[in-house]
Amino acid sequence: MTPYSATQQGAEQLTSLPRIIARRQEQAGAHDKTPRPRPQAIVNSEGFSLYYGDKAGVKDITMDIYPRSVTAIIGPSGCGKSTFLRSINRMNDLIPHVRAEGRLAVNGQDVYDKRVNLVNLRQEVGMVFQKPNPFPKSIFDNVAYGPKLQGVKNKSELQQIVEESLKAAVLWEEVRDDLKKSALAFSGGQQQRLCIARALATKPQILLMDEPCSALDPVATGRIEDLIGQLKAKYTIVIVTHNMQQAARVSDMAAFFCLGELIEYDTTSKIFSNPSKKATEDYVTGRFG
């Protein structure tokens, strides 16, 4: 999506943004101005920068992500949202000549430390991608892939994990009789929920979602958003999204990125109703993209 079309989309959705915010504030019973004490951060970024060769993907990001909440990262295209998200589980390692500076800690451990256990990191920090990317295997094998890597061999234990994960991703009822069927036979929305189930099966603490609904129709998007609302009771969710309405609907905290920098990070209602930076205001009101 180009910055321009992102702006257009944002502008179209603006009419309903204040309503969404107001409704969420009512739900939270929160018009109180006093900020509640925040829990200990689970992801902690301090002056974190990531370079592709000489080009900075993100620059000097300092922000804390809190457990059992949904943190949305918004901003125009090419602003480093996905780069930052993929830095948390080090998926950027696959790109040659990547270099990190500063500190990015998950649960107190700097993930760019040489001694970090990448396998454990990625099982603690699951990921859902932009395009549904199930393996060309059966539903069961897709979900059981992660647990099997962890060494779970017992059939009934696997069966149980698969069932739990599919239930958590609200897919179980639709596929319970088709567990042996190829994942590719299902719809895009079902495939994306399968990918969420697959990520949940490794029992992560954190779930990263990189524009998980951008390839889906509105109905499927709605289901994924409901699902995110349910999942945040147990997981920490970080979601990158182009869709500002979606950010307003699902997130508790929102970070606005622009040109690789973190412009503003605050509660979602503050970002959307009363941002402190001009750039943020311009972006969320659709004046610039």
Partner: protein, 324 residues
């Protein structure tokens, strides 16, 4: 620029069109040229198809004579191949078995090496190294087979004889090793194409679930690319089964089935080597001559069906990557 434009407008008075309709002679000329061109190009495109058709026709016609004096069943079920004896015996089982034997043995070497090399090239080495190594591997296919044959006879055969104490160095093992080397470029190249065509999505999914490179390669990438890999193996098989010069020089040319069957140090003879070796000294229109053509038919049928199989898997591989 400006000036050129103005002269153009000066020459052509505004409001006059170039004639938009063809004159009858222009029309006829265009018609003839277009159709003539199509016909010529069509003929050229057809030559290879016609050639294949004629080859089939010729080989089959020449082999039919065999059926007038001998039985096809005897040909396919008996082992003795004594074309010069009185009466001559044409039992081709040992020779067909020899072909299949060296092909299977060469694939046993070439397939694991080829798939691992393809995986290594596509996922492990940097792009720059791959850009050098892959053409070099493909260069292996450009070495004339007689050069491989020389290597087999002069270097590999004495080496095998000395190292393992085989009675002869030109045997099934020697031929299989050389055939494996010859099949490798095809296998590596086609398998590498299908593995790297898979794209990033599946690999990322696997890495994000905590899989290592090795696990990703063996549990996700290779299974997902299986159609292309099977096609690669079948293409390598065609190369091995149709190869003549190397097996002729390296296999020892004894028309026998190794006994016990797993003793790869014995000499064998293949269909291709039999045809190449005996055709030159066989008088036309004798039963020996027909028998050799019958062998050619068998070989054609074999490679033709392998070709169809590989086409099938290649098209499946294309569909699979097109979808993902």
């Amino acid at each position: 620029m400006d000036k050129g434009n103005s002269t153009l407008t000066l020459k052509r008075t505004a409001g006059t069109f170039r004639p938009l309709a063809l004159t009858p002679s222009e029309d006829l000329k265009g018609y003839i040229l277009a159709h003539l061109g199509r016909a010529v190009l069509f003929l050229i495109a057809c030559t290879s198809v016609i050639a294949i058709f004629l080859i089939f026709l010729f080989v089959i016609r020449e082999s039919v004579g065999f059926l007038q004096t001998e039985s096809l069943w005897g040909y396919l079920s008996k082992t003795g191949w004594y074309p010069q004896a009185e009466p001559a015996k044409f039992g081709s089982v040992a020779i067909i078995a020899g072909s299949l034997y060296v092909t299977a043995a060469s694939l046993a070497f070439a397939v694991p090496i080829g798939i691992l090399a393809a995986a290594f090239l596509s996922d492990i080495v940097s792009f720059r190294i791959r850009a050098v190594v892959k053409p070099v591997i493909e260069l292996l296919a450009a070495i004339p087979s007689v050069a491989y044959g020389f290597f087999a006879v002069l270097i590999l055969a004495p080496f095998l004889q000395k190292k393992f104490g085989f009675p002869t160095g030109t045997n099934a093992l020697n031929a299989s090793i050389i055939l494996a080397v010859m099949a490798l470029p095809t296998i590596i190249s086609v398998a590498e194409d299908s593995i790297s065509a898979l794209g990033r999505e599946l690999r990322e999914a696997s890495y994000s679930l905590g899989a290592t490179r090795m696990e990703t390669m063996f549990k996700v990438v290779i299974p997902a690319a299986h159609s292309g890999i099977i096609a690669a193996v079948v293409l390598g098989m065609m190369r091995a089964i149709g190869e003549t010069m190397v097996v002729w020089m390296a296999s020892g040319n004894a028309a026998q089935i190794p006994h016990p069957w797993w003793d790869i140090s014995q000499s064998v003879r293949t269909m291709t080597a039999t045809i190449a070796g005996e055709m030159g000294e066989t008088p036309k229109d004798t039963s020996h001559y027909y028998a050799l053509f019958m062998m050619g038919v068998l070989l054609l049928v074999l490679t033709f069906s392998l070709n169809i199989v590989s086409e099938y898997f290649l098209s499946r591989a294309k569909k699979a990557t097109g979808r993902a």
